[in-house]
Subunit: 321 residues, 2 copies
């Protein structure tokens, strides 16, 4: 459950003490402390590394500042821009991330795994081309149509960097990895098949020898459901718009699904949360399923409602093993 | 093809002459002139009324200003807020829209129909609850879960207003109407079935006796495809993420589809535009289909590329009648 930090009072205190969120990402002790918070305060079943989508992009030659999200000084839009990108060497470029991984592993209870974190290649490309976030990433979509060769070269370089980044996280102690494709939902199915899927497949294949579960989350891609079976990931995380019953039919038995409660449900009165939650839980009864939200936690949901959500899921799991 | 205006030099000149875009919406002569521009300069086959999603909301008691999109001074979030909403009387509240409709009809060639325009009830509600646009309309989604009665009351009032607004446009001369559900894509399928679909059905049913075609466009709802057959609209406009072949299979023979080229394709070199376009045109050969983009035109696409798109579609239609 990414971004669990923002609802936690100790995270907010830490954030208020530091002018820039970069300090939190780049100081191993702070990043580790934040990664551990949801485990301690919410008793979630796994920790996910506190870092950002854009973390590997700075050392590749794409500096950014937060205002409030990351803004790139020089968007990547031409063949030349892409050719200038440097390969990533995680050990020398991002030692603070790997140190955070090691610290988290030392601090985690033995039964709680640490999930490593990376933005998927298409989403990284979308941010770089746009120069930051965007409602529809139209500049990036324009590049795919107008200069597919350059787009593929960019995706190729980002894929190599991501593989190195995730391999390093695993070597430092991450026991699973999740790829976040939060911008993939702007793509048509055909564009997803051309510009997102093959690169996710390459990442998953490259990580296979390391023997850790690979999780893939894409936002807003119910129109690509059939393609999701081909990523090579063991776990598919679905957003709240994907019908779980249909996902089970479409994706077959080989995959574990994760998700997918609408995070906005957590604004409701407690009885409504429990009622809706149990309805969704019933639809996955008897199947292997990682229960979770269908997107990141919203920063202002009541802490008590998040606890209620987690406790209800735990109770259900005990009732129906 | 909504927002065709922004790529047209005469529209930009007109926009630059007036401090507020409100003047363009509220002056019948200007709104009519802008509505006619794409017909004159691009030779599209139909005109769509130049007005805004939020136009009917001001007189209902929800004033807004543009900065740059509409921002509501007082978002609608409580039962009391909803109860305070006034019913819409288009003839006295929005005479400038109806006068624009009459002027457009006088200026249009006989073979070019005028399509009336309205935001669909859920999308209007989403804007009102949020107080403006939003990436994910999480406040509105929260209201649906936490206080569904209030959400339904709001949707009920907006539906009545929309029916009156579209009836008035038709009486003034609109020969078809299109509902825009541009925020529906944030809903799960179940939420779409509860909070969007029934109100679209009510609008379509109320307009049936007037005998004009009803078009419905929802953005980002490929996960609701099967439900779209139930709106009561004669034409479904699909965004670029919906696979046309699957839509034909899923929606059967009774409906005419409209769409759905990715607007970003129009940033490409001419040969790429024609190639992609003809591929998509081949998938609809032999079926009744209204060829169009899968969303509004982006404001900075080259004018020549839009003409190329339209001319290519016209040429194809003549080849395969």
């Amino acid at each position: 459950m990414r971004q669990a930090g923002r609802i936690l009072p100790p995270y907010r205190q830490l954030r208020a003490k530091h002018d820039s969120i970069l300090t939190l990402f780049q100081t191993p002790e702070l990043a580790a402390q934040i990664t551990l918070m949801p485990v301690e305060l919410l008793e979630v079943d796994a920790a996910i590394l506190f870092t950002d989508l854009v973390t590997p992009l700075g050392p590749m030659g794409c500096p950014y500042e937060y205002d409030p999200g990351p803004i790139f000084a020089r968007p990547v839009r031409t063949r030349q821009d892409v050719e200038r990108l440097r390969p990533l060497d995680p050990e020398s470029d991002l030692p603070f991330v790997l140190e955070a991984v090691r610290l988290v592993r030392r601090g985690l209870p033995a039964q709680v795994p640490l999930i490593g974190y990376g933005g998927a290649p298409f989403t990284l490309a979308a941010w770089l081309v746009e120069g930051g976030t965007s409602k529809d990433f139209s500049r990036c979509r324009a590049l795919l149509y107008s200069d597919p060769q350059t787009a593929h070269l960019l995706l190729d370089k980002l894929t190599e960097a991501l593989i190195a980044f995730l391999q390093a996280q695993i070597r430092a102690g991450a026991q699973a990895v999740q790829l976040f494709d939060t911008s993939a939902g702007v793509l048509s199915r055909e564009a997803f098949a051309q510009f997102a899927l093959p690169y996710v497949q390459r990442v998953c294949a490259a990580l296979a020898p390391l023997g850790v579960p690979r999780l893939y989350f894409a936002l807003g891609v119910p129109h690509c459901l059939a393609l999701l079976a081909q990523t090579g990931a063991e776990v598919l995380s679905l957003d709240w718009r994907t019908d779980l019953a249909e996902a089970h039919r479409c994706l077959g038995q080989g995959l574990v699904l994760q998700g997918n409660l609408d995070p906005c449900l957590l604004y409701s009165p407690p009885d409504a949360i429990v009622r809706q939650l149990r309805r969704l839980l019933e639809t996955v009864r008897g199947r292997p399923h990682i229960f979770n939200l269908g997107h990141g936690l919203l920063p202002d949901v009541p802490f008590a409602n998040v606890r209620l959500f987690i406790d209800t899921v735990h109770r259900f799991s005990q009732e129906s093993p």
